[in-house]
Amino acid sequence: MNKKNAMITISAAVIMSMILTASVLAAPATALTAFVEQVQQVNANNVDIFKSAFAAGTNTHAIAMTAEKVTNGQVAFKMASHVVKDSSGNTVENRTPNYASTPTMPGPTIFVRKGDTVQVTLTNNIPGTKVSFNVPGMNDGVSRVVNTGSSFTFVLNANQVGTYLYQDKKDGLLGLFGAIVVDPVDGKVPAAINGSIQDVNLNELGKEYVLGMIGSTFWGMEIDHNNANKQTAEWINPILVAKQDQKVRFHVISLGMAHTFHLHAHRWLDPGTTNIIDTKLLDTPYATHSFIVQAGENVGAGDWQYHCHVFAHMEAGMHSVFRVLSNAPTETRPNVSIAGNSPLVGHDAFGVTNAAVDVATFTVSDQPGTWFQSARGNALAPLTVSKSVEVILPGGTVNFVMSDTNTQHTITSLIYPMQKDVSNPGQFIAADHMPFDETTSYRGGATATLHTPGLYVFSCKIHPYMFASVIVQNPNDLPDKSPEPGLTLGEKISTDNNIVVPTVSDLALRLLRVFFIATTPSNWQTFSSTSDTTWNPHYPALPFIAYTDGGSRFQVADLNATMHAYFQEPRTLKKTQTPATPGVGEVWVDTQFEMTANKYKPGTATAVNATTWQVSKKVALPEQNMNNPHNMWTDKNQQYIYQTEWFDNKLDIFNRADGTFVSQVTVGDSPAHVQTRSDTDDLHVSLNGANGIAEILAGTTTVNRIIPMQGADEDPTHPHAHWMTHDGKKMVTPNAFTQDSTVYNFNTNHRDAKVHTGAHPIATGMMPDDSKYYVANFLDSTISVIETATGVKLPDISMLKDYLPTGGLTGLISGGDPLPGLFAAYPDGIPAVIGALPIQTPVSPNGKAMVTANTLTGTLVITNTTDNHAIKTLACDAGCHGVNFGAKQGGGYYAYVSSKFSNRMIVVDIDPNNDGKIADAKVVGSVILAASPSIHDDTVTALAGTGGQGVLAIPNVYNGWVQKIPDNNPLKAKLSPAQQNPYP
């Protein structure tokens, strides 16, 4: 006697009561299966949902769905069965055959009538994650989650007509979403037909489309009422097809970010109004919009674009076409929508199942290293090391969704392959659709179809160490085509600022290396104060295909071995030694990637006692979920720490003495740097995710105004690390998105100048007398020099004047010297100037030296400000980033240096012999930032001491500010007379 036979004999009433019970308790999967089988015996026929004669409005929909992980790592709902029962419990219709047999995005579209009951039994087949079934407006507040391998029945009452979004609350943006359409009992839906508002009977509809607006991608589904109500997944940005004059209904559903849906040349009724519209806001956090159009009404056949009208989303690829086919006999194309690439399709290669996918999806998060993580990153990581690598074939799609971040980003091609110009032999042009970029930052995602084989690296222009690599695999480099196969890097690659190098080049290898270090926390440097340690970064032990400058194809048989040989890895990291001479006060470092126990977002602010060189405080602000603390400043009393949250929109204020929280101020997107005006003590916070500087008046905790750094006739600037003149009267900004710098005058409230700089200006430093200021151009590896009063530009300083980007690797090919490059090993104190990707670049308070942190090379470049001549290079750590000056005991200045991908702060003495000259500038020690502090508000759980970015020495010894520290402040007494007045 088996259970199945027993179940078949139970009455409909028993089934009903069973379902009701199941809605309270998790339904046993076996019982549900039996139930489904029984109804299928009762009614095996498909019934047209619109033309069926059964009474609508009192039916019960018994639905079994599953949640599945699909080939590319995304997740999606799949229909198992859908049967409709009348009020007597009799099964009147089996709709199961309508649905796709695979998971779909959007998930199965569930059509019901007002008054119906919807019972969705959800079985979670996704390993290692919980799934919910949330339908805003129908079952708000239901927080029930279904564990892997379990089922639960959610009961919904369809009380109100409309299109509803269903979603998993956590992974909706990764594909667990769909639509429930509740239609009126009489089947009549108002629409604007030929300008007239009238009821359309649902049985007049030829087709319906469900379009999910997710990130910056449309995910489509077609329901064809002329083909047995068949539901077909149309995937990414499909071409929707209809016949001229066919009445079709769109269900646009959106979650996460706000969108505006626009369809060319058509207009429709805005539901609930008599307004006729052609563009509709779908606001955050979720929205639906449903409307009927007559295809091509009053406008005729054609390919009519549909798109999101949020401009950055348009730039990010959020568009496709609604193809209205003419009724003319010459039109022979089938009335069938044309699907985009599918996340279900994979291709085996190199002995790896699904080595390449048709849709490579990256999630975007605020989590260290995995800012852009492949949806299947965990599965790929054993092979690719980094979770931010994907492989597609030509014609495949790369797809981004900002699913786990609190701020705005861009999706920008930092590196892309060049292709041979067919019309111009011997010349190379950018890969198809490259460069890929948006004018302003935004919340959303991106989608791009890539055709040209080679290496692509996408980054965010606000947070330029967020990386995703996509390899578009040349089929000719696959094992079945080539005796020396490998992953395709391409012949030449270009950076965003048009530096083109062959893939066999020092620069290409360095870029690859920084990618695998930045995106892989296990590749970060861990120093110790008690013993030497070994740093052994890993790279994929896979074959790659690169090309020499002469165009010769070259197989890197094992990238890991090649990188280790070229960069002399693994390396010994010498145990740290603290400086012999103490500093004054304390040094705060934003350990931005440090994870703590009681908050989801990363980051702490770490204080080092400059007398003992011990970590004295760590501040995590768990209750504020302080998110990626990036940069700090203090007030004139040195009482508060002003702390930006760079992956958020907030500024935190806490007490410096004990780290206790004071206030949190919403300031605007991606607040990067913060400084006070020395004259007023007002706060100015750069909005890296916007177009200005937020101003908070001294003593207040709200934004007073946002000061635009561009005119209304100019593109948004997205300033990063600004600097104030010593008198507080002017402010200069590096405008990361517009390749220029603004000089803002607080006296006149005008922009005195907007000066062209190099590519991606990111930080500034200023002479203590304001005579000139410096702008670090991140992508060009140059420093712009600008006269503050006039905006006149002086000659640039190259951070890379002794570097040949193509140099290197030739020795490796010939089997000779594997280290031909000028600086294969980190230099220390060498006279050459080698600093790639410069970031912070402050000038010492006495105006003698500028110290520039270079993140690609992990070097510091020392520049003599007298003649703007870069004089030497010092060793720094992986991801060298932040620099600020503090007072050295007895006189002089230390430059305190932080690095993102190491756990220590480096101390540079710019004038160890105190002779007033900086020729002897050197690293005099370092301090581990991972040490367990005596004062803290949370427990460090991972990535201890890493993520070094903003640096702030207390007391603030810059000219203009130091004089404002009250004389009775004990910190001031610790400064020498010269330090109290650094630039008389």
Partner: protein, 378 residues
């Protein structure tokens, strides 16, 4: 071209289709004058005059409105040397009364400078527009400049997009490109037009290439929210039109003084201008966002009709390229229009709106810096 018999048959057919909700028969008539690709073959600017005339001859007396044909030529120019801003500029605007054949040149009603927003094209239901766009950018590397319009009827060759999107043609200038719009049924209201071709498939709308088309109702009736009720207000009572584009960093405003009977009545006012109107006069606001931000439009102290509803509205959350159009009667107190979204609020995306005692003048204040730069940079 449709024969008279065919048109009548079409009208009869539609009168069956249309319920009590139907728009007036005049609009139905326009639907019957279907767009035809064959008319595209003509290179002449004016090409469908006769058909429209014969249509009018069969209009019922009750709908004694004259359909107009607007022949417009605009150009697009660069307005600053750094190359970040472009603008449309009116070259010629002639109106032909299809009933009387009288042609009126109304070019001088427009600002003849490049303006942002671009020239407002005011027509009414039943009218049609032949608009030729020229390219004054003098930089072939930028590609072509076009006009893509919302709301109104046009065929695929008037979409104003690139061939890679529409499958038919690169629809922009150079050479001069003509689009044909018909204000048929369902088109009344205010709609944006913007570039969709310059420097790629998305165009350069956010760099100044945008404007508005106002399609007035054929029956001359608008609605207004007054003392908690929806009341009719005559189109003819609107003394001022305020066309305000909400960009990501500021409003760009143009006003039209409907009381001016000759000469220029459209005035570009630049960014966040201070606006004035005569106390007690009816002013129609046309708000259109453009860019990447979501906005929250407010007009302090006023409550207006949320279009298509019977609800009073005191603010409106809007996404790019939606439109929000409403009529208010100017109060005797100072007001301010503003964008209440966080960033825009603190950037100061706002301006005054003040009532001025009759007889005025109620002259709004242009933001001179921007206007001067537009003018001197041509």
């Amino acid at each position: 071209m449709l024969s008279a018999v065919g048109i009548i048959a079409s009208i009869l057919a539609m009168s069956v289709l249309f319920s009590a909700n139907s728009v007036n028969s005049f609009s139905s008539l326009i639907a019957a004058t279907s767009l035809s690709k064959s008319s595209r073959d003509s290179t002449a600017t004016i090409r469908t005059g006769e058909g429209a005339t014969s249509n009018n001859s069969i209009l019922p007396a009750a709908a004694a409105v004259s359909a107009m044909r607007h022949n417009i030529t605009m150009t697009a120019v660069k307005v600053n040397e750094s190359g970040e801003l472009y603008a449309y500029m009116m070259v010629s605007h002639k109106v032909t009364d299809l009933n009387t054949h009288v042609v009126t040149d109304i070019t001088s009603t427009h600002s003849l400078q490049p303006s942002i927003p671009g020239p407002t094209i005011v027509i009414k239901e039943g009218d049609e527009v032949y608009l030729t766009i020229r390219n004054g950018l003098k930089d072939p590397s930028l590609g072509i400049v076009g006009v893509h319009v919302h709301g109104i009827h046009y065929d695929i060759l008037s979409d104003g997009t690139l061939k890679v999107l529409n499958g038919e043609a690169d629809e922009g200038a150079p050479p001069p490109y003509e689009v044909h719009w018909i204000a048929g049924p369902g088109t009344k209201g205010t709609w944006p037009y913007h570039d969709h071709t310059l420097m790629g498939v998305n165009g350069k709308e956010y760099r100044g290439l945008f404007g508005a088309v106002i399609i007035n109702p054929a029956d001359g009736n608008l609605q207004q929210y007054k003392d908690g009720n929806v009341v009719n207000v005559a189109l003819s009572s609107i003394t001022k039109e305020i066309v305000a584009y909400a960009r990501d960093d500021s409003f760009w405003v143009q006003e039209i003084d409907n009381t001016k009977t000759e000469g220029q009545n459209q005035t570009p006012l630049g960014t966040n201008p201070n606006l004035k109107a005569i106390i007690g006069s009816n002013v129609r606001w046309h708000i259109i966002p453009l860019g990447t931000d979501i906005h929250d439009f407010k007009l302090n102290t006023y409550t207006w009709l949320d279009p298509g509803t019977t609800n009073g509205s005191t603010h409106k959350k809007m996404g790019p390229l939606e439109n929000h159009v409403f009529v208010i009667t100017t109060k005797n107190n100072p007001s301010q229009y503003m964008d209440g979204a966080f960033k825009n609020l603190f950037l100061g995306d706002a301006g005054k709106f003040d009532g001025v005692a009759a007889p005025g003048p109620a002259i709004s204040t242009p933001t001179n810096a921007v206007l001067a730069s537009l003018t001197e940079r041509i």
